[in-house]
């Protein structure tokens, strides 16, 4: 048997699934003693170019409470044309179309290599994709111009049949009617008055779609394929291009000392309402572009007086942020409405100050939307990122999916939400979900040796081609008795996945709990894990050993504790929300980078090499490239930067220096070009102000406090009171082995 390493990798490649434990403890009690819960990271739309979708629909278990999909793990009686559901053991007749199956003529879904398989739903009409642009017009002309260009460009990236709509807002909210001849029309709404879907429908003169039924999916909903506000791109792209071109900055005068009145809350509400009453349960993206905080109406996050700054963490802690709760409530309600209809809300916030992402985060988080934060629409960060939203795969289909729902079939299950069904709405190939399971088997009813637990992930979504698709992933893991087989369970530990899973739990808690509490909780979990799986003598810290499968885990925790996901110091509430948003949706690799940034060193001494994220890695003759996911930072050591200033790179005889300078830049570009959202690119040097980004990330192994290394050649001291990894580990060991704990 291959190593667990290989097994894990293989599973991830095939199914997009990684479990914290790849052998499961067989009872609830044991499971809780494992400290790290049985959980999985699942990437529903993991790219599988080798996996062609099959053109029929899945066969479902006939038990109404089960409805699991036929999969390779099922027992099949080819003669009787029966199959047994591996979740509920119900015996099911194959449908007539399967009359011809036999051992040698198996349908794809029964082949083991198709543990992940994608079906295309054949019933119902193909539904259009909807893109509703919600555009803030309260911004500098330069920004607005850049935004307009980006939007115009995006029209060319949309499939011709997609429907687009435009809502602009400033002091008022305008819903633009598209495709009208001559005069351009828009419906204008007060920015201070929220409207429910029904009012909106009346005011926009929209008729309720006929045949509104309870059933899900397009089969049952007869919807007009377009209306005055959402029209196919191919019909109105000229018109809309002109319309966008003519967009003017919000014309209402902004008195000195005031913020422009920005009716974001109502604009979003109208966008949600518009889609709600026209295209329920149909893929739709509300793309919101904002240049500042909402300053009036429901959802306002700050008043229009410039002298009152927008809330900070400090204000929130002091309960001094009077708009936060109300605004959050407003956006949550919107997010829930959008999610209920399978609509996605994206937020592209480009402003130097905060824009209220804290309050609005649920809009993106609940609907699988993107949250992008930049300083200006006129930056490549925004432009590139926005363009990348529309990335297409080899078939020319978007790498995004709509109106997704995920259903988990398990024998023993439960997620954090206490449910097994979630609406995700927006999905892309990297969207990764953390699913936490609970083993419900009682301790005294052990599962028979060699039993396997199975999990089936059923993801329904609307493909960007308009097709409804269902992707089914079915996996199984062995059960093990934790008392007798603790070793094999420990060996099945996936520390990377576990770190992320724990981190997500911590971040989830951080949203609602005080920062220090979360850290304490995290520490305790770590200590308990060490106690459980460490190898040590009581009260002898030096005796502590961790097996290889656990060796990196404490380090991840160390960096996690320092990360912006848990530390709000020096971060605005918006930044925290943004970081957490990204952390909660990215896949394992990216998430790990976020927790523990990657550091490469470039020098004349050899090829570029990864180095420790440690202050000792900061050397004068090195160039460092740090990738924190959010930032790509190139740091020129003291000497290198002196050389650079002296212009050696321009001298032919120092061409190698030029190459050295260029190498990290090239590598950085590569990352910049592939990542979404595009990271902030920082080029700095020893002593540069932006070097702080690097210094705040590295392990402060040398500080002004530990004098012994002060003045030594190696590394650079960090002026901080934070503990270093070494100290952290020492404490950890001490606590882990302490009998008092």
């Amino acid at each position: 048997m291959a190593t667990f390493q290989e097994f894990i990798q293989q599973n991830e490649d095939r199914d997009g699934v990684r479990f914290s434990w790849n052998v499961w403890p067989s009872s609830r009690l044991e499971a809780t003693r494992m400290v790290v819960p049985v959980a999985s990271l699942f990437t529903p739309l993991k790219e599988r170019p080798d996996l062609p979708p099959i053109q029929y629909e899945p066969v479902l278990c006939s038990r109404a409470t089960c409805r699991a999909v036929l999969n390779p793990l099922c027992q099949v009686d080819y003669r009787a044309k029966l199959w047994a559901c591996n979740f509920c053991y119900q015996r099911n007749q194959f449908p007539p179309t399967y009359a011809g199956i036999s051992e040698v003529n198996q349908p794809a879904e029964l082949l083991p290599q198709f543990s992940t398989i994608e079906y295309v739903v054949q019933r119902g009409p193909q539904m259009p994709l909807n893109f509703l642009y919600v555009v803030d017009t309260c911004m500098e002309d330069e920004d607005l111009q850049a935004l307009k260009e980006s939007l115009q460009m995006s029209l060319s990236l949309l499939p011709p049949t997609a429907l687009v709509g435009l809502i602009t807002f400033g002091r008022m909210v305008q819903v633009h009617e598209l495709g009208c001849e001559g005069i351009s029309k828009s419906y204008v709404f007060r920015g201070t008055k929220d409207l429910n879907a029904k009012q909106l429908q009346e005011m926009l003169g929209l008729t309720k779609p006929a045949g509104q039924q309870a059933g899900r999916g397009p089969q049952t909903t007869q919807v007009p394929l377009s209306n005055r506000f959402l029209q196919p791109v191919h019909k109105i792209d000229m018109n809309l291009t002109d319309l966008l071109g003519e967009l003017q900055r919000d014309p209402w005068p902004v008195p000195q000392g005031k913020r422009p009145l920005r009716s974001l809350g109502v604009a979003l509400s109208i966008a949600v309402g518009l889609l709600e009453c026209t295209f329920p349960n149909t893929g739709a993206r509300i793309m919101t572009f904002i240049g500042g905080p909402a300053t009036q109406g429901p959802g306002m996050v700050v008043g229009d007086e410039l002298k009152t700054p927008i809330r900070s963490w400090h204000d929130i802690e002091k309960d001094n942020a009077k708009f936060v709760k109300k605004a959050t409530k407003h956006y949550e309600a919107l997010a829930n409405r959008a999610a209920a209809n399978g609509h996605i809300i994206d937020i592209y916030a480009c402003a130097l100050d905060q824009t209220g992402l804290l309050e609005m985060k649920c809009c993106t988080n609940h609907t699988g939307g993107y949250m992008v934060m930049a300083d200006s629409f006129n930056t490549s960060l925004f432009k590139q990122t926005f363009q990348r939203v529309f990335t297409k795969d080899v078939q020319g289909a978007f790498k995004m999916a709509f109106a997704g729902t995920l259903e988990i079939k398990v024998q023993l299950e439960i997620g954090t939400g206490g449910t097994c069904q979630w609406k995700i709405c927006g999905l892309d190939p990297s969207t990764t979900l953390a699913l936490y399971f609970e083993v419900v088997n009682q301790h005294n009813a052990p599962i028979p040796q060699g039993g396997r637990g199975a999990v089936q992930y059923v993801t329904q979504y609307q493909h960007s081609s308009g097709q409804r698709r269902i992707r089914v992933t079915t996996i199984a893991r062995n059960w093990a008795d934790a008392q007798s087989q603790i070793q094999s369970i420990a060996a099945s530990f996936d520390q990377e996945a576990s770190a992320i899973l724990m981190a997500r739990l911590a971040v989830y808690r951080a949203e609602s709990e005080e920062g220090p509490d979360v850290l304490r909780w995290l520490d305790r979990q770590l200590i308990r894990l060490c106690q459980k799986f460490g190898d040590y003598h009581k009260d002898d810290p030096n005796s502590f050993r961790f097996s290889e499968t656990f060796s990196l885990y404490p380090q991840f925790m160390f960096h996690l504790r320092r990360s912006p996901f848990l530390q709000v110091f020096n971060n605005s509430p918006d930044e925290s929300s943004y970081y957490r948003h990204q952390f909660m949706r990215q896949d394992l690799t990216q998430s790990l980078i976020m927790i523990q940034p990657i550091l490469y060193a470039y020098s004349f001494n050899g090829p570029p090499e990864p180095v420790l994220l440690d202050s000792s890695s900061i050397l004068p003759d090195r160039i460092l490239l740090m990738d924190t996911f959010f930032q790509i930072l190139i740091y020129h050591g003291e000497t290198v930067s002196q050389w650079r200033k002296a212009g050696y790179q321009d001298m032919p005889e120092y061409e190698n220096f030029r190459h050295l300078l260029q190498a990290p830049v090239d590598d950085a570009q590569e990352i910049l070009h592939s990542r979404f959202p595009m990271p902030r690119y920082i080029d700095t040097e020893h002593g540069g102000s932006q070097a702080r980004f690097l210094l705040s990330k590295v392990n402060p192994s040398q500080t002004h406090n530990n004098m012994y290394s002060w003045g030594q050649e190696s590394g650079a001291p960090i002026l901080t009171d934070d503990v270093s990894l070494q100290v952290f580990m020492d404490h950890l060991k001490k606590l882990a082995v302490s009998s008092a704990a």
């Binding site: 305008q174 001559g182 351009s184 029309k185 419906y187 204008v188 709404f189 005011m203 014309p251 209402w252």
Partner: protein, 1028 residues
């Protein structure tokens, strides 16, 4: 008086003194003026001076027997004075004696005799009519079995008496001024006997009284027309003889319509006497010519009568006197009245940064009445007597007369009307105002689209907007324009010049109205012309296939107010609306028309606007200087009482075109619209009327809004807006100093300048009631009564109001008779000369559709009239209440003069005639059945009356003298009216004729209301009751 009067008429006085003794009234001389028009001009005029002044009238029954009557009398003193006054105008006219001579008859002697005695300006008409009772009020004229001659007047409605017809032209003559009713009646000879020389003796002449039969002008008059008159006359004498006692009998039956005071005659006389002259306003308490006369004003220290006109130019000194006479003291102010080209426009005075110089105490503005004292270093306020320092920069030495040396260099010291440049202190928020804006709000619901209105309007606006009002001498108008269309939602348009296409912004949230854009909504027309034209081209198409029939109303006004608020300017909304606003929105209305309420206690509710939303809107509008002009195109009831509330409180106008069809009514509407848009106008106005001590302004009627008791606020004032102010005493007035009125109006010009317009007027005061009656101005009085009655309609049953009006009329006359007239028989109705046609106006007022509930007339129509009258000036109420009836069949195509008007009575019509009738709102062309074919041919291009099509909507313009002349007459008439009138062509005996007949105000009202004659009888009875 005053409106309170309506509530409780003051007890009437004791009144009667020795009146009884007096014999009959006396007929006024026949009026010659008429002849003048037709005949040689000069002649007739001479008489008028005397004649016209006579107000006499008789309801008369001709035959008054009381010989003794001739009074001479008491009046004489008056007479004398009147002569003096007359002196001023005499110039143009030969002296009375001459006049008499012209007649050739005898007159002289008698005349002369009389002259001295006669009461001049005040004439009473006495009727001897003992029989007054006869004709019960409300009844038609009595049938006159007897005399053939009478037959004419009595003719049944439809058939005009043949001879009368023939005489038509002449007819007026006889009737006219002279109320000498008797005259006409009597044949020449007898008459002569009876009639005093009325003409000459302006005073009252009593028929019988006069010993000098011959003297009576009649004969001459008869001459020309002789034939006809002769016919009727013969019988007369017979009846005549009877003394008062006898009257009861035969005479009763007969009343000669020509014998009662004639408005047309009065108008003609005044035009003849004062028309074409220069009226210099240099005298205190000077009585201006009638509004109908054509005169030129020279401002010499008092405001032109075009701006201010008083009910009387002599105020009683004490409130007791005022109460006694019941004559309302009021003034009608039309602050922006149009000034004819030959008069000097108002000077603009700039007192620099400190603003206009004012009295420190009462804040009155510097004016000619201020007295400079102390060598010019101080001035005493004429209004409150406060002594103020003269600012250094304003100091000027006085001359030996105590007048400032710079008197004639400073308009504010020498003129009655002028303007000041206002400083920032007079501006909202101390910021200079922005130029006003006009917003066109077009209802694009199904009705308006289908009627063709929207298309017509959009087309018209393209040219109309070139003519927005602008400041004198400025190249282009500073007025900005904006556009809104609506049905149950509103569409705003961005027409910024930078746009290639206009942009439409729809606001469907009508519950809380707001304006969706600021930049680009109100634009300069010249700059955005291309975009605006583009928009106007597209609007009709955009809504061409609409099937939306619901509309909103209050939200659109709200939107206008919000727009002005956002743009920080004042302005005007032009709303083109089709139907009652039933869509779910604030200000939603429902049909509350109920004809069952007519003539009940609750009738007033039909006229009352609904409160709530609209009340608040009025306030908002006025506060923002947002004037609303409402053009309505209804096909049914739309609760005009409520919808018209905002326009009438903001200085706006309401126009209504029922069942509008573009092809038929388009021209009329466009004419109104053009006039309305181009009107000179001021915005965001606040007016204050200050008076000298002893009296003060207590009540204001008009299209205004008042937040407190003194400041009149008007969102806008245009050249047609008039406001009637009532004064009351709060102390005794001084005969020496007189009374001063200063009306100061702060407003924003169309160019966005803040200005103060000041009108000053000085009046006489007297403790003699006779002076007061002498200085009365009937036209202004009736304006006052019309407005106060129309306002009272909101609170009281019409029956009460009518009673009050009659009572007050009777009271005024009784008081005159008691205190001013020479003693005469109780049976005589004596009218003050200046008020001799007052009853006909009063009667007409009571017969207006608003005052007479009839199922034939829609509630909205009545409300509309009510609303319109509230903003009317004297000129408009005059013609509204006594329309101008012009015979066309004998017009002189070569003359440029308008044919003379005839009395508004059916009797003046003839089968073979053709008449124009106009009342300032409507214009009728009435065609007699026997209208000469040649005339029909030349006007309509069809061979005869019988060939005229069923529906005659317009008068073709044909190339022949008759057609041209008629068109010239029509345009001349339209020219002087505030509204453009729709021409209605009515054929005799056709159904629409009913509408026309309503306007023959001397006749019995079709929907109720007495004839002129009956009314006089009724009033007379009332007077007699008061006097006994």
């Amino acid at each position: 008086m005053s409106q309170q009067g309506y509530v409780a008429t003051p007890p009437y006085s004791q009144a009667q003194l020795g009146m009884g003794g007096h014999p009959g009234g006396f007929g006024g001389p026949p009026s010659q003026p008429v002849y003048g028009h037709y005949g040689g001009p000069p002649q007739p005029f001479p008489i008028p001076p005397g004649g016209t002044q006579h107000g006499i009238l008789g309801i008369h029954k001709g035959p008054v027997s009381a010989p003794s009557a001739m009074p001479q009398p008491p009046a004489s003193s008056h007479y004398g004075s009147s002569v003096q006054q007359n002196g001023s105008y005499t110039q143009g006219f030969p002296p009375p004696p001459a006049a008499s001579s012209s007649f050739g008859q005898v007159p002289q002697s008698p005349y002369q005799n009389i002259a001295p005695q006669a009461t001049p300006s005040t004439h009473q008409l006495t009727n001897q009519i003992s029989n007054m009772q006869i004709s019960g009020y409300g009844q038609g004229p009595m049938p006159t079995p007897q005399s053939p001659s009478r037959s004419a007047p009595q003719q049944p409605f439809h058939s005009a008496p043949p001879h009368l017809m023939a005489q038509t032209p002449t007819a007026p003559g006889p009737q006219s001024p002279s109320m000498g009713s008797p005259l006409p009646l009597g044949g020449p000879p007898p008459m002569g006997g009876m009639m005093p020389a009325p003409m000459g003796g302006p005073a009252f002449h009593q028929l019988q009284g006069q010993g000098t039969p011959q003297g009576y002008p009649q004969p001459p008059a008869a001459g020309p027309y002789g034939g006809q008159l002769a016919g009727p006359q013969p019988g007369f004498p017979g009846s005549f003889p009877g003394g008062a006692a006898q009257m009861a009998g035969p005479p009763q039956k007969k009343l000669d319509p020509d014998s009662i005071p004639s408005t047309t005659q009065v108008i003609e006389d005044d035009q003849a006497k004062r028309g074409g002259q220069i009226y210099a306003t240099n005298l205190r308490g000077q009585i201006p010519p009638l509004v109908t006369s054509n005169f030129t004003v020279q401002d010499q220290g008092n405001a032109s009568p075009r701006f201010m006109r008083c009910t009387t130019y002599t105020f009683p000194c004490t409130s007791d006197l005022a109460k006694q006479c019941q004559v309302p003291l009021g003034t009608v102010i039309k602050p922006f009245a149009t000034i004819p080209k030959n008069e000097t426009p108002l000077y603009v005075v700039n007192h620099g940064e400190t603003g206009p110089i004012r009295c420190n105490r009462c804040k009155a503005y510097m004016c000619p009445f201020m007295q400079f004292i102390d060598g010019g270093r101080r001035f005493q306020c004429a209004f409150c007597s406060c002594i103020n320092e003269v600012p250094v920069f304003y100091f000027q030495h006085l001359d030996h007369m105590g007048r400032r040396m710079d008197l004639y260099e400073r308009p504010e010291l020498s003129l009655g009307s002028y303007e000041f440049i206002a400083t920032l202190d007079y501006c909202k928020n101390n910021k200079p105002p922005n130029p006003p804006a006009y917003i066109f709000m077009i209802d694009v619901s199904y009705t308006n689209i289908k009627s063709g209105l929207v298309k017509l309007l959009c087309e018209e606006l393209k040219t109309l907007l070139e003519k927005l009002p602008r400041e004198e001498g400025v190249e282009s108008s500073a007025v900005r324009v904006g556009f809104v269309t609506y049905n149950k939602i509103l569409h705003f348009y961005n027409v910024k010049s930078a746009l290639a296409q206009p942009q439409m912004m729809v606001v469907s949230d009508v519950a809380e109205m707001f304006v969706p854009l600021q930049d680009g909504f109100l634009v300069n027309y010249q700059e955005s012309r291309a975009v605006i034209h583009n928009l106007l081209d597209q609007i009709p198409d955009m809504f061409a296939d609409t099937n939306e029939s619901e509309t909103v109303f209050a939200p659109i006004i709200q939107a206008g107010v919000e727009a002005f608020k956002a743009a920080e300017c004042s302005g005007k909304l032009f709303i083109f609306h089709s139907s009652i606003p039933t869509a779910e929105a604030p200000g939603k209305l429902k049909n509350r028309d109920d004809r069952k309420l007519f003539n009940t206690e609750k009738e007033k509710t039909l006229f009352q606007p609904l409160k709530g939303v609209y009340e608040q809107l009025c306030k908002d509008c006025v506060a923002q200087g947002c004037c609303v002009d409402l053009f309505l195109f209804p096909s049914q009831y739309l609760d005009l009482a409520t919808m018209g509330d905002v326009p009438t409180h903001t200085g706006g106008s309401v126009y209504k075109y029922s069942n509008f069809q573009a092809e038929v009514d388009g021209t009329h509407f466009l004419n109104d619209l053009r006039k309305d848009v181009e009107k000179p106008i001021g915005f965001d106005a606040i007016m204050r009327v200050r008076t000298s001590t002893g009296f003060r302004a207590t009540d204001f009627f008009g299209a205004i809004h008042m937040n407190n008791t003194t400041d009149v606020e008007m969102a806008a004032v245009d050249c047609d807006n008039a406001l009637t102010v009532e004064f009351k005493h709060d102390d005794t007035l001084n005969e020496e100093t007189g009374a001063f009125i200063q009306c100061a109006l702060l407003y924003t010009t169309v160019g966005g300048q803040r200005r103060l317009r000041v009108h000053n007027l000085s009046l006489n005061c007297s403790s003699q009631l006779s002076e007061l009656y002498k200085s009365c101005e009937t036209d202004t009085l009736i304006n006052f009564f019309a407005k106060s009655a129309y306002r009272a309609m909101l609170n009281q049953p019409l029956k009460n109001i009518r009673e009050i009006l009659v009572n007050q009329t009777a009271h005024m006359l009784a008081c005159y008779r008691k205190n001013c007239a020479s003693p005469s028989a109780a049976s005589q109705l004596i009218l003050p000369d200046a008020m001799k046609v007052f009853p006909v106006y009063m009667n007409s007022l009571m017969k207006t559709p608003a005052m007479v509930g009839s199922p034939e007339i829609s509630t909205d129509e009545r409300v509309l009239q009510r609303l319109c009258v509230m903003a009317m000036g004297v000129e408009e109420t005059q013609v509204l209440l006594y329309p101008c009836l012009i015979p066309l069949q004998n017009m002189d195509v070569s003359s440029s003069v308008l044919p003379g008007a005839v009395r508004c009575s059916e009797e003046r019509l003839s089968d073979n005639g053709m008449f124009l009738l106009e009342n300032g709102r409507l214009l009728f062309l009435w065609l007699g059945q026997a209208c000469p074919s040649e005339l029909i041919q030349s006007l309509f291009n069809v061979p005869s009356f019988a060939h005229l099509p069923e529906e005659l909507n317009s008068l073709p313009e044909l190339d022949n003298p008759q057609s041209k002349k008629v068109h010239a007459i029509i345009s001349a008439i339209s020219e002087r009216r505030t509204n453009r009138m729709k021409l209605l062509i009515v054929k005799q005996k056709d159904r629409p004729e009913i509408l026309f007949r309503q306007h023959l105000v001397e006749d019995k009202g079709l929907h109720g209301g007495a004839s002129y004659m009956d009314f006089l009888c009724y009033v007379h009875r009332e007077v007699r009751q008061l006097l006994t």
